[in-house]
Amino acid sequence: MNSNNQKKNNIKTPAVNKRNTASVKTDSRAKSLKIYSVGSVAILVAIVVLLNILISGLLGDALTFDFSANSQNTITKETREYIDSLPESTRIRIVGLLERPEDLQNTPYEYIVPLLDDYVAKSGGRITVEYKDPELYPSIISELDPDNVYSLEEGCYAIQYNGQIQVIDPMDCFTFDEDYFYFYNAYMPISNNVEYMFTNSIARLISGFSKKAYIITGLQEEYSNSITSILNALGCDVETITVSDSFDIPDDCDLLLLNGPDMDITEKVMLEIEDYLANGGKFICAVNFTDSNSSENYDNLNAVLNTMNINIDPYVIQENDARYMLDDSGYSSLTEVNESFIEQSSVFDYFYQFKESYIRPVRILVDSSTEYLTIAVSGTSENAVCIKVAESGVNQYGDAGRYYTGVYSTITGPGNYAQVIAFGSNDFMSDEYISTYGMNDYNVQFFKACCRFLLGNESNVVVNVQTRGISDYQLDGEKVTTTTSTAVLAVFMVTIPLIFLIASAVVYERRKNL
């Protein structure tokens, strides 16, 4: 039995071995094919990743073509030449105070985000752009603006260079259709100034402040931190001059400001300002009517303003037209911008109404003077009155009529280009007002426009970048009617899908039994 078993085993063993040998060969082949398969996929993935890194890194710019309308997303030759002219070590940091927007359509960022990417791509490392949402990175505001003078807000861009910053609000990068705003109370952009704003802000930061403004202090005046940051943003360095016996207005003064003093200026200051204006100086002053200055007539200040055909009267305006009144007393009211003043410069194009309170009337001394060009900046309704607050406590009312709340004046003769804007309220320049209503408030924007107008910032532009048109996807209003809209709905949303659904049902019905 044992020998028989042994024989059987002896017979079977070679066959089993043969099969095992074949199996080992197949395993080995399958294993090598598996290695080849996995390896080839891994190699292909590696090649693809490397290829993409190389292409986007080395040839990304060369293989990117801007076919957009007016090349909206590409910086122009002027900007490119300016950036190329900067030393290679220049480091300009642009920080968008928001999450990088993904859906750009119909937002101001549609024209900003791609253009800034192009700045980075073509700056040779001089410009970087990053997006930091202040909610996620609360320290970014204090990092950019440690003294909190710029009122950095979410959604803005800050351009930083050597510790200095310029702030750009996306809404400032566009020109808007005034009529559209008037009728629909919505902004309709008509031109794109994004590159203009960014390039010139960069240029201002790099070349430093090209203008100088002085603020008169020492007269119990308003704090001027906000207007300092506004002027800095306009490329204007700001210093203060304190009233004293040695008061002197420096020769480099491009703009002089007097911001809500409770006391009249001294005779020394009066003479200095007169001298400054006689030499073509630019002067903005704002004086309102408060408990602390109600008895002040500002005789010396008026003596200066009189040389420019302006007088600030010692009254307070009370508005009586309900359409203009902002409170029951009528001391806070809406004032209208004078159209003649708007025509002085395109920087005033957007303004038509302000809100002001406790306003002193600002008067034009001689209405039709040939020596001066004097224009009311803003005024009340026809039903306002001005009130003289007497020491006895009995108020004296003036005639009802339209009172000016701000006046602009310049001398028309040759050789002297002195310009003065006098406001009868502090609601354009005071820290209190600006901190309450913010930098985007209409009054504050108007103050910025006045500064630009007087400083001649337009001629100060370092890089002459043209504004561009904006793609208009509007359809012809006459062709888009309720009927055509319904037809579009019926054809594209109902009929076509329905035809294909019916077709699918028919095909399914015919083939279900196959």
């Binding site: 801007d66 359509q105 359809l475 062709k479 579009v488 594209f492």
Partner: protein
């Protein structure tokens, strides 16, 4: 390859799949177009960009049956027994699915004509969006084919395709979460804000590198980036090759 392409393309119309896909696409495109038209302003680029969001629905419908159905019926044996290169099979099915997208898009071309006829514009950004749409369609179709080749269940294929495309679509969100998480973890370990923020940014940047939606965003504005198209195309090639290897595996696999 042409014979396979022709057979696969016609197959879409011999079954309800092609018609249903076109019906869904037409409805979605029609809805977006009507919304814009009724508001008085039509941006075709915006419409096409919006349509990219629906790849996650359309692509699984189109590709789920490509290989899975053949495997289920056992007709996949023909790939290995007929004198046809396997890669031709993959390429034929891929091109057929892409051609179906072309048919779907006739609807959008008709909407372009209506837009121009009504005083609107079809700017270069619109054409850029269309180009990107097809490159991304190619990429996601290749994903769908790979998912279909992986198993013999159409439902599983559709789910796998849906998940992969969804991941691509939410890469930017994923990168945001990763950034925040990395930032928080690193800050708790190192107490160094700059290090944690920069590391978070790098991680987000790495994830975003794979985001085809972000890479191709500028096309809508009329900025054509060839490198973005190469990215889509190369990803499509990788997935097609993987599909080919999965099919090829049957020749030598013992499992």
């Amino acid at each position: 390859m042409y014979a396979i392409f022709k057979r696969e393309f016609l197959q879409y119309f011999r079954s309800p799949v092609g018609y249903v896909a076109i019906a869904i696409f037409s409805f979605l495109a029609g809805f977006i177009f009507y919304s814009q038209y009724a508001s008085g302003a039509v941006s075709i680029s915006s419409e096409v960009i919006s349509l990219r969001s629906f790849f996650v629905v359309i692509v699984p419908i189109i590709t789920m049956a490509s290989f899975a159905e053949d495997k289920k019926r056992g007709t996949d044996v023909l790939y290995y027994t007929t004198p046809v290169d396997l890669f031709s099979v993959v390429a034929g099915k891929f091109l057929a699915a892409l051609a179906l997208f072309g048919i779907m898009f006739i609807n959008v071309f008709a909407q372009m004509i209506v837009t121009v006829a009504n005083g609107g514009i079809v700017d270069v950004g619109a054409w850029g969006s269309v180009i990107v749409f097809f490159f991304m369609a190619a990429m996601f179709i290749s994903v769908g084919l790979m998912a279909s080749a992986l198993n013999d269940s159409q439902i599983v294929s559709a789910i796998v395709t849906f998940v992969i495309i969804l991941i691509f679509q939410i890469l930017s969100t994923i990168s945001d979460y990763a950034k925040t998480a990395a930032n928080a973890v690193l800050f708790s370990i190192t107490q160094n804000n700059d290090l944690s923020v920069s590391t978070g940014e790098k991680i987000a940047g790495l994830i975003n590198w794979f985001d085809p939606f972000a890479r191709t965003a500028d096309f809508r504005s009329g900025v054509f980036s060839v490198s973005a198209l190469i990215f889509c195309l190369s990803v499509a090639i990788v997935f097609l090759y993987v599909t080919y290897r999965i099919l090829e595996k049957k020749r030598w696999s013992q499992g």
